[in-house]
Amino acid sequence: MPNAMPYSLQIINLLAALLLLVVFAMLAQRRILSLINLFAWQGALLALSTAIVAWSTAQHHLYYSAALTLVLKVMVLPWLLHRLIRRLNVRWDVETLINIPTTMLVGIALVIFSFNLAAPISQLAEGITRGLIGIALACVLLSLLIMLTRRKAVTQVVAFLSLENSLFFAATSATQGMPLVVEFGIALDVLVATFIFGIFFFQIRETFDSLDITHMEKLKE
């Protein structure tokens, strides 16, 4: 029985499960504003789990990445996205390419797939990491699924950021943090990527009068 597990680990497990739930909620979400809010929640869960890992393993550099996550992914990026959609005046509903229940079933299949894939690794991991890689991988694949099934540029970007969050979760919870320099590099890349996405939104809207990427299916082969 899992009684021997310390509470910090139990909480991380719970947070991991909630993270998966948030990604599923994003997959089911029809409205773009809620999508961004969910993304902020995801960031909050991530920051919390990072902080708990930092506390339980006494790795102080993880506090920095928790703080970084909190600032960047809970405040700055959602704020930027909110501003963007206000400026671009796009508050429409998200249109999906496949209907949502089907997407959900595909999502479940992906979760099973990634749990299977990660099972041999979970066997190896001791203590804190057990099972978390599987959940992180599932979140990664689900974010990819969101990206594939949405038509709007903004949604794709939120999915991209959620993908990045899932990877970050893998890095902090499953391996107790990458070296700090790498983490800073990743965070910088994400920030720059978001700015470039922002530039793109304006360019795309200027050119196509819409942010619907179905306009962008001319190039083939």
Partner: protein, 485 residues
């Protein structure tokens, strides 16, 4: 000493990026761009000579690592970046003249060009597998705005595709890196050293095989997206066709190589851990598929830059296949082919750029009679095409010959597939380029003199290496091949 060379090598493009971000609109920005690239090239030459003489070295507290393999790519990258900057100086001015580019866009182009060189050099020289990822992502970020430089609907589409697909691909590579760290942490302990390649290389036998196996799949798929391996290639033709020609040249000639370098670094670790040919088989499979699919797509292309983009996929596939086979000869051949492909493909893109400027279209059916309009551009394209198709005496022939004979020896079943694909590619490209070069036209000669010194310089090197391989170079490549195993 090596620290100093490396510092100059990395700081020059960074400084260039900074300077051009400020002065990019000045009339002399293009010259500054070339000068910075030239200085980078000189630093690369100095570094190369040092490393080839005295063997692999680490620098800056083990954060950087140079051996014969990556210094070869450093030299190649710096050289092609330099010649491309020479080419882009007149080329971009003509584009500006035609009203396709504004000063602001050129400003962006120059500073991003230097930053792109910087990120590639960092990706090549860093010892940290995590920084490799960061630099690769940064390389995407710096080029994505260059692909959409013209702001046409199709260029925006191409850039968006490039951004999203490479972003997703590279995210998978990050997952692979995390798994790698997960495995190494158990052996090397926590902290900064656990992702240093030199440390990993020492303990590769102790790394957990199941984890590394999965990690390699993710790394190959992730970086493979950047290499343009089928079926992850769909961004590549778009980005090459819609971006400005100098960008196509560096993407095709350099970025793909850098991504392949990252894959090769991972392969060495995985081979050491698994002790099987798993990584090699995977690479051979992806490589072969890329060669075949790209060859089949070649004949259906109407856009000239798109066609050569598919040719890049084909050649990268061939190189990946050769690296996958492993062994001294195949690796040697793969590196030679990498060199040849970078030189020849960028030369072709230079010539194509001028041909397109002349006719105002990228559609091949509207480009005719280059020889009449501008004999140098015509001959440049014709010779470049001969070279890339593997006609002797160009170096591509030598490397392809080596790859195919090795394949015949080691994996006989793959030879007919490779030969058939190369044959199809030959027929497709030759059939399309022949009327472009030799056909009839009533177009007027070019108003601007084309900048073709880089084209002929590249082709000359390819020719010389095809006829005679200097012992120094052969030795160097052999050492590098030995490192990769």
């Amino acid at each position: 000493m090596i620290d100093l060379y490396l510092l100059v090598l990395l700081l020059t493009p960074l400084l260039g990026g900074g300077l051009l971000a400020v002065f990019g609109s000045r009339p002399w920005a293009a010259e500054l761009n070339s000068a910075m690239s030239g200085a980078t090239f000189l630093a690369a030459v100095a570094l190369t000579m040092r490393v080839v003489d005295s063997g692999p070295q680490v620098a800056f507290n083990e954060q950087f690592f140079i051996d014969q393999f990556n210094v070869f790519l450093v030299a190649l990258t710096a050289f092609v970046a330099f010649t491309t900057s020479l080419f882009s100086r007149p080329y971009m001015r003509i584009e500006q003249h035609h009203g396709k580019l504004s000063t602001g866009m050129l400003h962006l182009y120059y500073s991003m060009y230097q930053m792109f060189t910087f990120t590639m050099l960092v990706a090549l020289t860093t010892n940290n597998m995590g920084i490799v990822w960061v630099a690769m992502e940064a390389a995407t970020l710096t080029t994505v705005l260059l692909v959409s430089l013209y702001r046409t609907p199709s260029s925006l589409e191409a850039a968006w595709k490039y951004f999203i697909l490479c972003g997703v691909g590279i995210a998978l590579a990050l997952f692979g890196t995390i798994l790698l760290y997960f495995a190494s942490e158990r052996v090397l302990g926590e902290g900064g050293n656990a992702l240093l390649w030199t440390h990993l290389n020492e303990v590769k036998g102790a790394l957990e095989p199941t984890v590394l196996k999965l990690a390699f799949v993710f790394l190959l798929v992730g970086y493979g997206t950047k290499i343009g391996l089928v079926p992850l290639h769909s961004w590549l033709p778009d980005a090459h066709a819609e971006g400005p020609t100098p960008v196509s040249a560096v993407l095709s000639g350099l970025l793909l190589n850098v991504a392949l370098c990252a894959v090769m670094r991972s392969k060495v670790l995985v081979d050491g851990s698994l002790g099987t040919h798993f990584a090699g088989n995977l690479m051979m499979g992806f490589g072969l598929l890329s060669v075949v699919v790209a060859a089949l797509f070649l004949s259906r292309q109407k856009d000239i830059k798109r066609m050569f983009a598919y040719s890049s996929i084909e050649h990268m596939g061939l190189i990946t296949f050769a690296f996958g086979m492993g062994g001294a000869v195949a690796t040697f051949a793969a590196m030679l082919h990498m060199t040849m492909h970078s030189l020849v493909k960028s030369a072709i893109f230079f010539a194509v750029g001028h041909a397109v400027q002349k006719s105002g279209t990228q559609q091949m059916e509207h480009i005719r009679g280059l020889l009449q309009v501008s004999p140098t551009v015509g001959w440049g394209l014709a010779l470049g095409t001969f070279a890339i198709l593997g006609m002797p005496p160009f170096g591509v022939f030598a490397s392809e010959f080596l790859i195919i004979t090795t394949a015949m020896h080691e994996y006989p079943w793959s030879t007919p597939i490779l030969l058939a694909a190369l044959g199809i590619a030959f027929a497709a490209i030759f059939g399309k380029i022949q009327p472009i070069v030799f056909g009839e036209t009533n177009a007027k000669p070019l108003p601007h003199p084309p900048a073709l010194i880089p084209v002929f310089a590249h082709l000359l090197i390819a020719l010389i290496l095809g006829l005679y391989m200097p012992p120094y170079l052969a030795d160097w490549y052999r050492q590098a091949a030995a490192l990769l195993g």
